[in-house]
Amino acid sequence: MRNRIAHWLQGRGYRGVIIGLPYLWLLLFFFIPFCLVLAISFGSRTPTAPPFGYGGEHPWISFVGYARLFQDDLYLRAFLVSLSNAATATVLCLLLGYPMSLALTRVSASWRNILLMLVILPFWTSFLLRVYAWMGLMGKNSWFNGLLTDAYNLLTPASWAITSVPMMHSNFAVVLVMVYTYLPFMILPLYANLERLDPVLDEAAMDLGSRPFRVFLDVTLPQSIPGIIAGAMLVFIPAAGELVIPTLVGDASSPMIGRVIADEFSSASDWPMAASVAIVLLLLMVGPMMLYTHYQGRAEAGEEP
């Protein structure tokens, strides 16, 4: 019996299972649901449950959802707000996270463990709780807002004086909380990438006449691009579809796309519309990613002269 298991483990069947499992997972939990959503997006809204159906007459599928995407500028604006908020948050995460990741690779091993722990520590409290904490901080009567208000009043002419900094219910608040929430998703892949770089290469560049900042530009930065892209995707993709943060701290008059999808599903009970928005969002996210993977694969295969 043991022999047969060992034999199987060395065989092709074993490899097939190992390779097949993730595909099965993707099929069950990504591809099939995706097909369902795609199917729903071509339906039309019905007042009865389930809240969508297919028209009896030709054409029996409907493009109403997709058509409305381009007609009603609510959707277009929601996409733009989402993409710009997500992009801003990604850039800020990168600017904050890169030096932190680099520092993590340069400190002693014991410090590194403590600092890494501090990066992950916020995950130990509920995400919602942390958003509520920010709401408290940004609110008109908080010490944080008071401090900022005092600082502002001190630095500007008396005629510009304000009673509090209007932070809540703005894109600023959304970006701030998203940067706070997603920063570890930037730091961890970047750190994993930077940590693998050989410090001897830095010495070699210095030896050949480069000052430390030049070494960073020539040696560290180009080699960390895969880490930057991985981190940027981990931040940008969930940030673009974010629902909770914009709902709690965002500007209700210019919703983000996640909010639009949720509203269409629940209050408007227009499933086909919600599905259309979701599909377009998915295409917007997956397209660049596939392009990147394609070029990455080509670059790794290497160019022959």
């Binding site: 010495e203 050949l208 020539d218 002269p305």
Partner: protein, 362 residues
């Protein structure tokens, strides 16, 4: 006397409580290939890193071409290094790697390109300019590293175990190539190595290091034939050493009593020897003559063959002395037949010239 090209003055380096380099003073002439030879942890790499500017000496100073290097950062030193791992930039082509240092030179793009082409030709890698480092072999990578380090025409090239990562055949070939490139460019080389053969063939002079100190400096023949300590004698080549006692010194010949030989032998004297002094007598295996008939003259020891290893061109014997101690003898198989060569358990006589024996005080 003219100031030497490179002068290392009483340099020490401490890491915490660990003394990596201890009061080292050396001079290297322009155009020389100078080796720092020693086992791991002897301080040779630390000394090299101090020359490159990656470490500052805790005490002492380093002068390169008359310029004090104290406080001069690596990027401003007229020194380039070939790293043991080669440290090629993986995201740059061979050409870009070689041209990297030239970015800091004030030259036109065309001149830079010509210089890169010239360097690639020097190391015979012209067809590989567009490849990335991972697309070429280990030997080619080594040559890229050399070309990159030489491109800016450094005054001094530091080579950290330049041949360690190559296999044996390639190593021999590369050794001669390194020497010919050094000859053509005239750049001063300082080589760090733990391989005594590598040091012997490459270098004009060798500094043997142990525990942070320089034990002996000299030409390869000098450190081999006239080692000044048991450490150097044992580190370079093989040697058999016996404790002995000086019984007479006449001119440059000393007579010493060797317990293992149960008799007296004559050896070339060293300065400052006095009668009654405890010294070490050391003999290299190839300086001993093995014969079955007792030869005439002094310095003859009787023994019995315990082991013999036949390598073809030569044989290695292990001879048991009357005292029970063992001595190695290396003998070239000049004749073709095996007749007349000592065999297992044969009674043999070993002899050596007084000048072949080394007396070591330290």
């Amino acid at each position: 006397m003219a100031d030497p090209f490179i002068r290392i003055d009483n340099v020490s380096k401490k890491f915490g409580t660990f003394q990596a380099v201890q009061d080292v003073s050396l001079t290297v002439a322009q155009g020389e290939i100078f080796s720092l030879l020693g086992g791991s942890g002897c301080g040779k790499t630390t000394l090299l890193r101090m020359l490159a500017g990656f470490e500052e000496p805790s005490a002492g100073s380093i002068f390169i071409d008359g310029q004090d290097m104290a406080g001069v950062p690596p990027w401003q030193r007229p020194v380039h290094m070939m790293f043991q791992s080669y440290a090629l930039f993986p995201h740059m082509s061979v050409e870009k790697n070689v041209g990297y240092g030239l970015k800091h030179e004030d030259m036109t793009a065309a001149t830079r390109k010509a210089r890169v082409a010239e360097m690639l030709e020097l190391v015979q890698l012209t067809p590989f300019g567009h490849r990335k480092p991972h697309q070429i072999s280990g030997g080619q990578r080594q040559r890229v590293a050399l070309a990159r380090a030489l491109a800016r025409q450094p005054k001094l090239l530091l080579l950290d175990e330049p041949l360690a990562a190559l296999d044996k055949k390639l190593r021999e070939h590369t050794q001669f190539e390194l020497m010919s490139i050094q000859e053509r460019t005239g750049v001063t080389f300082i080589v760090v190595t733990h391989d005594q053969e590598e040091a012997m063939t490459l270098s004009d002079r060798i500094a043997v290091m142990d525990k942070g100190r320089v034990k002996q400096v000299g030409a390869p023949t000098e450190v081999y034939e006239y080692p000044n300590s048991k450490f150097v004698a044992g580190f370079i080549g093989s040697i058999t050493a016996f404790p002995s006692k000086v019984s007479a010194v006449v001119g440059d010949v000393a007579t010493v009593q060797v317990a293992a030989f149960q008799g007296e032998v004559q050896a070339r004297s060293v300065p400052g020897l006095s009668v009654g002094q405890e010294v070490t007598l050391a003999v290299r295996p190839e300086k001993l003559v093995i014969s079955q008939a007792r030869p005439e003259g002094a310095n003859v020891i009787a023994g019995q063959v315990k082991d013999l290893a036949y390598f073809g061109k030569d044989s290695l014997y292990r001879i048991t002395l009357p005292s029970g101690e063992l001595i190695s003898v290396h003998s070239v198989n000049a004749g073709r037949s095996s007749g007349g060569r000592p065999d297992w358990d044969d009674q043999v006589y070993l002899s050596f010239a007084p000048s072949a024996a080394i007396l070591l005080v330290e």
